[in-house]
């Protein structure tokens, strides 16, 4: 790659950063209160929220991690990307109840929603804060890895330096305008991903002639690539297909990036339109990552490109396709990483400045909340960089860890709690304690395995987070049933109305 091309790509990537920064700067005028800064503004329409949600859920996990896994292990990870109907299902099942709760009190965070449903139970809020913080670190580490791969592929820069630069810019625009700027910049970044999706998919068809030739070139070459990887389940054990269908099917509806956006919509009657925009843009992203993954397989099988690490597949393919693809794919990767990172940084800031102190009975003034939030974002940045360095996993695997942990943290509160009045505070608290303990156990085992200090194998090769999720759900239900002191009369009458809606 020539220096001119390299700097053109750098310029297009930084254009995304600069525009995001300008949007954040402009959006600060809309911040009229601390609640609006943190996420309490119900001012957005379905297109903005749909694009923002898609971008935040998609993330670098989708654009860097998924094609990498398609290249190395076949189609199984695409099941995760293709589970878009689960978006709609989530809105159908809990959407109106979540949005209705936002009418009852000041809802600027997930902790506020939890307070309403569980009468301000501090233990639940504390556990939710801790679990969300862990999940945020994992998810952010996937974005760190992706950014490192991007700039590492261009300039061979140091991973730590890259992470520091990206987080500094991110924190800069996130602290200016909070969640309002966050939603608007994520919507813009979603648009960048969609445009890149169209351009890349067209390039794929020009280069390969379609999906058929990919299968043919594998069959006719001596590349050593496994044709069975192109079956639905890929070349990994079937348990991965199971986990990668289960996780989005049940987990999308309780991901923070979906839940928080529901409360920011003007009215729940716009949720069907929001889900339509979210799934159509998600389909375009899905088509792009499918095309990138298949293109990588095709180019390697045909001996045209060498890919040393799966996470570099997207960049190697873009480099082969030429400047038109490069100028869109690199910025799309950055946009995907930024959109998710800004959301999780805001979330971490909110947890530390609002939810965590609230759960401990500490009252922080709104002005101080913003200062504490900035420090929390910095800490979260360090935690994410540390986790990425320690785990050494691929982007997609890190993303699934984060997704699973966040689902285990939120499922008992926001799915069981909203669908069943019988979910008691103590039941949910026990379910979340189980989730926390099993998550820490699961992560510890994975890290021990990474350093060859454990040979533990999960039953049936099912990834650990599936067991965490199941344990938290089952304990929540069982403990609530056994909690004879609980009656739904203890719920605020307005909350009962919201659950009845």
């Amino acid at each position: 790659m020539s220096d001119v091309v390299r700097y053109l790509i750098l310029a297009s990537s930084f254009a995304v950063l600069a525009i995001s920064f300008l949007i954040g700067f402009w959006a600060r005028r809309k911040v009229t209160s601390p609640e609006a800064f943190i996420g309490g503004a119900k001012i957005f329409g379905p297109l903005t929220v749909g694009l923002a949600t898609m971008a935040a859920v998609g993330s670098a996990f989708a654009i860097v991690g998924v094609p990498g896994l398609v290249f190395s292990t076949g189609n199984a990870i695409l099941l995760f990307m293709f589970a878009a109907p689960a978006f709609v299902f989530g809105y159908l099942v809990i959407g109106k109840k979540v949005r209705a709760l936002a009418e009852i009190g000041s809802v600027a965070s997930l902790g506020d929603l939890s307070d309403l449903r569980f009468n301000g139970h501090r233990g639940i809020k504390l556990l939710l804060s801790i679990m969300l913080f862990i999940g945020c670190a994992m998810y952010l580490s996937a974005q760190v890895e992706a950014c490192a791969r991007l700039f590492g592929n261009l300039f061979d820069w140091n991973e730590l330096v890259i992470a520091f630069v990206i987080f500094a810019i991110l924190i800069g625009y996130t602290v200016l305008s909070g969640e309002i700027g966050g939603v608007l910049t994520q919507a813009f970044q979603g648009l960048v991903i969609v445009v890149a999706g169209f351009i890349f998919t067209a390039s794929f068809f020009v280069v390969t002639g379609g999906f058929g030739p990919v299968l043919e070139v594998i069959a006719s070459s001596d590349s050593g690539l496994d044709p069975s990887a192109l079956t639905a389940w890929g070349s990994l054990p079937g348990a991965y297909s199971f986990a990668w269908i289960l996780l989005p099917a049940l987990g999308i509806m309780c991901q923070p990036q979906v839940l928080t956006r529901m409360t920011m919509l003007r009215t729940p009657r716009e949720l069907p339109k929001l889900s339509l925009y979210a799934v159509i843009t998600n389909m375009i992203t899905g088509l792009m990552v499918l095309a990138i993954g298949y293109c990588a397989i095709y180019l390697v099988a045909a001996g045209k490109v060498a890919i040393d690490h799966p996470d570099t597949a997207v960049f190697k393919v873009a480099d082969y396709l030429g400047i038109s693809a490069q100028l869109f794919v690199y910025p799309a990767v950055l946009a995907a990483a930024l959109s998710t990172s800004s959301l999780f940084l805001s979330l971490a800031g909110t947890i530390v400045s609002r939810d965590l102190p609230g759960s401990l009975g500490i009252n922080i003034t709104p002005v101080r909340q913003v200062a504490v939030s900035r420090i929390a974002m910095l800490l979260m940045g360090f935690a994410a960089i540390g986790f990425a360095a320690l785990s050494g996993d691929m982007v997609a695997i890190l993303g699934t860890y984060g997704f699973g942990t966040l689902a285990a943290a939120t499922f008992p509160i926001f799915v069981i709690g909203l669908l069943w009045r019988g979910a008691s505070s103590r039941g949910v608290m026990l379910g979340m304690l189980t989730a926390l303990a099993t998550t820490l156990g699961g992560v510890a085992i994975e890290i021990l395995k990474r350093f060859n200090m454990s040979e533990f194998a999960w039953p049936g090769d099912v990834p650990w987070y599936v067991f965490v999720l199941a344990a938290s759900v089952v304990v929540t239900i069982a403990a609530s049933l056994l909690d004879s002191a609980w009656s739904d009369d203890q719920l605020d009458r307005r909350v009962r109305m919201a659950l009845d809606l």
Partner: protein, 149 residues
């Protein structure tokens, strides 16, 4: 009462699903997942304690049937051509993966997206939302505190 029974059923389905997958029967676990999604779909259709089964049947029910067909066909063709290149392709894909592309991804995504818009009023009418807002704002927090006291 029905709500609680459904939640208990969901807990048992979670256990069954994970036990099956842990024992190596992950495909059976996926079919249990579909039943679990159906249970959540029924619970989510509830309005003032009444379940709306028409809302469950469309679009959720059709989506779940489509996924069931996708799993079955994907497994059938994966087994039929598991060790090499298939005898035929669909849209250039391995037939096992083509089943996923069509019946797991494109058809159910469009079905759910446009289907939700089609049943919007049944899911939440403007009147239901307005009534909720009126009722919520009529109950002031002070009134609520008095009731709880």
């Amino acid at each position: 009462m029905i709500e609680t029974s459904l939640i208990i059923a969901s807990g048992l389905l979670w256990l069954l699903m994970v036990a099956l997958a842990g024992a190596g029967h992950w495909l059976a676990g996926l079919y249990v997942l579909l039943v679990l999604l159906l249970v959540y779909g029924i619970l989510g259709s509830s309005h003032k304690g009444r379940f709306d089964l028409r809302l469950v049947l469309f679009p959720t029910g059709v989506w779940l049937l489509s996924w069931a067909a996708a799993f079955g066909l994907a497994e059938y063709f994966a087994r039929a051509y598991d060790s090499g290149v298939p005898a035929f392709t669909i849209f250039g894909f391995h037939p096992s993966f083509a089943a996923i592309v069509v019946l797991f991804w494109i058809f159910p995504t469009l079905l759910m997206g446009f289907g939700f818009e089609a049943v919007k009023d049944r899911w939440l009418s403007q009147k239901q939302w307005d009534d909720f807002l009126t009722a919520v704002h009529e109950v002031s927090p002070d009134q609520q505190d008095d009731e709880q006291a």
